[in-house]
């Protein structure tokens, strides 16, 4: 069985059974960006507890199944329309950045492409630069994705200290992948049942745009989603004639290469 990395999963929303399923499918590490809980939190204290959960509790839950757990910190764009709350949360983040499983700032980005969301995105970018952190970016949903991806790219390019090789822009689809890769950023493809991208479309994008600076993830969360979407796509790659070397590159080596830019990311058995 091939080992792989799940580079984007919201495990706080999943049952312990899901950790077992991931382990049985060959998952070696799971990475959890901070996100929206399905409802708006009423204070920064709620985020403080959430950051404790993904830096203290989830790593222990994953370790029971031999899976390494890493995370990213931020206030997500859906809750960034209130700049006061967002700034209170951003002020909490430095305290957590030295924890053993924190890889960087994410998933920051835009949701409805509003001015407040954009301001908070820029403040997160500045925070990442000041603390020399990797960045994981969420791009908006559905009709808002194309415009939002352009605005995000502009915000990143406008910052003189951003190295595109240290930023992954997630949830790309056929209409946004080229603009992300052409600017030198990493791209993430999200395998979601009703939106974003299917296994076959993800493999199509690999064929058209190449296998460098790209990963795939399930982004499984509290909604309709599939924590085994990556191994299902690995199976589809096999059915389409890809050998283990190609599959391993996209699902293990690439995420390890990107996240390995953080000194905290360690994975046993990587050649």
């Amino acid at each position: 069985m091939l080992r792989y990395i799940e580079p984007h999963a919201h495990m706080v929303s999943r049952t312990t059974d899901d950790y077992e399923k991931l382990a049985l499918a060959g998952c070696a590490a799971v990475c959890e960006p901070a996100f929206w809980a399905g409802f708006d939190r009423s204070s920064a204290q709620g985020f403080y507890d959430y950051f404790r959960q993904i830096t203290e509790y989830e790593p222990r839950r994953a370790a029971r199944f031999g899976i390494r757990h890493y995370c990213w910190l931020c206030i997500n764009p859906k809750e960034a329309e209130d700049p006061g709350l967002a700034r209170d949360v951003i002020a909490l983040i430095p305290e957590f950045l030295q924890r053993n499983n924190v890889l960087g700032i994410g998933e920051i980005g835009l949701n409805k492409n509003s001015r407040n969301e954009l301001r908070i995105l820029e403040e997160h970018i500045q925070l990442a630069v000041e603390h020399d952190q990797l960045i994981l970016v969420h791009t908006p949903h559905l009709e808002d994705k194309m415009k939002g991806t352009r605005l995000i790219l502009d915000a990143l390019k406008n910052h003189s200290s951003i190295d595109p090789g240290r930023v992954i822009i997630d949830h790309v689809e056929e209409h946004t992948i080229r603009m992300v890769m052409d600017e030198g950023f990493w791209a993430g493809m999200t395998l979601y049942p009703e939106s974003k991208c299917s296994p076959h479309r993800a493999i199509d994008m690999l064929e058209v745009h190449g296998c460098e600076r790209i990963w795939m993830n399930s982004a499984c969360d509290w909604g309709v989603s599939d924590p085994l979407a990556v191994p299902r796509t690995m199976l589809e790659m096999r059915r389409r004639g890809y050998d283990d070397g190609w599959i391993r590159k996209v699902t293990l080596e690439n995420p390890a290469r990107f996240m390995g830019q953080s000194p905290r990311f360690k994975l046993d058995g990587l050649d």
Partner: protein, 103 residues
């Protein structure tokens, strides 16, 4: 002939038609049935249905890049941030500028 691809797996002899035709046939029939359903119930003037019908025309292109064209067809083409987020979710299709929506 499709576009020249430089990233295909080596020595691939898999029939992609065998692998994908039934799934594509199933999904296309679902779209047809959806259009029949909303028409039967008098809901086919919804802007999302109109966008969907417009996207179907793009499938007739002989050029590759149909998936990209469909996604762009549903997208907000504007470039400036909006003042405030009116909702947190997304509808799946851009409804047009606010003035057009009121009109």
């Amino acid at each position: 002939m499709g576009a020249k691809l430089s990233h295909l797996p080596p020595e691939s002899r898999v029939s992609l038609v065998d692998l994908g035709f039934m799934d594509a046939r199933f999904k296309l029939t679902e779209v047809a049935a959806f259009l029949d359903r909303v028409q039967r119930h008098g809901q086919d003037d919804d802007f999302r249905v109109e966008r969907l019908k417009g996207a179907l025309a793009l499938l007739q292109s002989g050029q590759s890049g149909r998936a990209r064209a469909v996604l762009e067809h549903f997208s907000d083409p504007t470039t400036e941030p909006i003042e405030r987020a009116p909702i947190q979710g997304a509808l799946g299709a851009w409804p047009g500028p606010p003035a057009a929506r009121q009109g």
